[in-house]
């Protein structure tokens, strides 16, 4: 099959290229950032442009995978909205117009939000509480919901909405990898939420499996069972700095601590855990790399800064 990956230069995109190529598929990519020495044709384009539409027109991919939503909260909100919503719309519109039979939207499990009174394990039926608990993620939630509408707007097009838990691995990319990059990781005093993450190679395998099965519907995608944040910090060689909530907001972005939005505090106070049983049942997916491997690979790629003796 000819598969077009939008957002191919992301860590997951690069791994997916290898996964799909190994399986004998013809792979193409689009990404604003380009990819030097890419093993497959990559078009350095924004998917919302006419030139990107032309790629769809000329190559007529059978499957389109959208990995190009932006989670970075450093980017101005308006620009993120345009990329995430406009980009998602372009993927579906062009895919449909130029003969794609399957579109895979790769979303995030944070769609469900972190709250003290929500179920520990979210199923795909749960509402997007992130809108109230973390309003800064509204564009990602909207992109996810927009992708879901393709299920009824375009019944001839197989649509997969994959809500993937945090990823971790040697690339260091992703929300969790970024959060854990520094020597010190800020936590909230008196809280230690469970974090659900999977190795980035397993994410690529899971998406490849969704393509193979031409999966239709909304699915949570998870790997091993979750671990408390404190263990995650310890096993990646970092040191937790537990701060009272009042101090936390003042310290963020200073003293070498990562800069987080106010809504992100909910994610280090309460867990966001999803139930991946529907995806497992539909695809027989089983993770190959456990939590220890994911943490070790991250740690080896980003060793903790040496402390003074």
């Amino acid at each position: 099959m000819r598969v077009l990956l939008v957002g191919v230069s992301t860590a997951i995109g690069r791994l997916l290229v290898l996964e799909l190529s190994r399986a004998g598929h013809e792979v193409l990519g689009i990404d604003r950032r380009g990819w030097v020495d890419a093993p497959v044709p990559v078009f350095e384009l924004d998917v919302r442009t006419r030139a990107a539409e032309d790629v769809f027109r000329r190559t007529r991919p059978e499957v389109v995978v959208h990995l190009g939503t932006v989670a970075s909260l450093v980017m101005p909100g308006e620009e993120r909205y345009r990329i995430n919503l406009g980009g998602t719309r372009a993927v579906f519109d062009h895919g449909r117009a130029y003969g794609a039979r399957h579109v895979v939207f790769v979303g995030r499990h944070t769609y469900y939000g972190a709250s003290h009174d929500s179920p520990l394990y979210h199923t795909e039926d749960d509402p997007p509480m992130a809108l109230s608990t973390f309003p800064e993620l509204a564009d990602l939630v909207a992109a996810d919901l927009y992708a879901c509408t393709a299920l009824w707007r375009s019944p001839d097009l197989a649509t997969t909405v994959a809500r993937v838990c945090y990823t971790l691995g040697p690339s260091g990319q992703g929300t969790l990898g970024t959060f854990l990059k520094g020597a010190f990781v800020p936590t909230l005093l008196g809280y230690d939420p469970l974090f659900q993450f999977m190795h980035e190679r397993d994410v690529a395998r899971a998406i490849a499996l969704a393509i193979e099965r031409r999966l239709r519907g909304v699915f949570n995608v998870v790997g091993p069972p979750p671990l408390p944040l404190s263990i995650l910090i310890r096993e990646t060689g970092r040191r937790a700095i537990a701060l009272p909530e009042l101090v936390y907001a003042l310290a963020l972005g200073r003293f070498g601590l990562p800069k987080l939005q106010k809504g992100a505090l909910g994610h280090i106070r309460y867990p966001v855990i999803v139930d991946g049983s529907a995806f497992r049942m539909a695809t027989a997916f089983a993770y190959e790399l456990d939590e220890a491997t994911a943490m070790r690979d991250f740690r080896e790629a980003f060793p903790p800064p040496r402390r003074k003796e």
């Binding site: 179920p119 520990l120 394990y121 008196g190 809280y191 230690d192 469970l194 979750p226 671990l227 909530e245």
Partner: protein
């Protein structure tokens, strides 16, 4: 109905030369026999932690054995494995009753079991309390949690009186307030036996003469119990937990409230009679 008291619980190796070490080893051994699927980090898929259980049980053990001298009756009604729902009355101004049932399941059952309480949502807003509650297997009282844990063959602990039950004053300590019906719906839905229990002694341990809702609001709690000596500090009184024979009902959990109401009343009556047996 057989009686067991903490004094008769020899499994923790008290009386040995190095009692402290023996007690810790015995707690570890009991944790390993809970049948909980801990991973290599000592964490189960619900976030229960071996380390927290060890420390929590070390704290609960002297309270259960010496401070409150809890006596249990009919503990054989609790199945050694598989899904079951412990349903009882609240006794005392805060969750002392839940802690002692947790201790009874852990220290007086063989094999030990972990009772997983369905707790009030406010606990999970509080730092430290939320952490300890979740690491000890106590979860927010949501239908989703109830069903998931039962389908996972866990032992649930439910107080259908909710926060209204812990707010009972000293004079009302043996009465029951209105029961919610959710627990019965989930028991029917998952075909789970209900093990009723009556808890006595919590009202004496914490003789509440009033509840301060204003102070509670300031502290992020539903209320703060006020005792004749001011502080809500529990006194070393004897406690009893009396378990009854399992109750099973035929249904799907989607019945009308009127139908469920009659069954809930049956559970409530059974709990009331267990309390009366304890008072006799």
């Amino acid at each position: 109905m057989s009686r067991s008291s903490p004094e008769s619980d020899a499994s923790l190796g008290r009386g040995e030369e190095n009692g402290h070490v023996a007690e810790t080893d015995a707690i570890d051994e009991r944790i390993s026999r809970l049948g909980i699927p801990f991973n290599e980090y000592g964490i189960d898929p619900y976030g229960i932690s071996k380390t927290y259980l060890r420390w929590g049980m070390r704290l609960l053990h002297p309270l259960y054995r010496s401070y409150f001298k809890v006596e249990t009756y009919g503990i054989e009604h609790v199945p050694p494995r598989g899904r079951a729902m412990l349903v009882g009355n609240h006794s005392g101004g805060f969750a002392l009753d839940a802690a002692m049932v947790l201790a009874a399941m852990f220290f007086s059952m063989d094999p030990p079991r972990l009772a997983q309480g369905m707790a009030d949502k406010f606990i999970y807003r509080l730092p430290v309390a939320s952490l300890w509650a979740s690491r000890m297997g106590q979860m927010t009282g949501l239908p989703e949690h109830c069903v998931r844990l039962l389908e996972d063959e866990r032992l649930l602990l439910v107080f259908p009186e909710g926060a209204r039950g812990t707010a009972k004053l000293y004079g009302d300590r043996y009465t029951l307030v209105t029961f919610g019906t959710g627990f019965l719906r989930q028991a029917l839905q998952t075909k789970t036996p209900i093990i009723p229990f009556g808890f006595l002694g919590g009202g004496e341990a914490l003789p509440t003469i009033a509840n301060s809702y204003t102070l509670g609001k300031i502290l992020g709690l539903p209320y703060v119990p006020i005792t004749p000596y001011g502080l809500p500090f529990p006194l070393p009184t004897r406690m009893q937990i009396r378990f009854g024979a399992p109750l099973s009902f035929e249904g799907t959990g989607s019945e009308e409230d009127a139908v469920l109401g009659a069954w809930v009343a049956e559970v409530k009556t059974r709990i009331a009679s267990l309390i009366e047996e304890g008072r006799a």
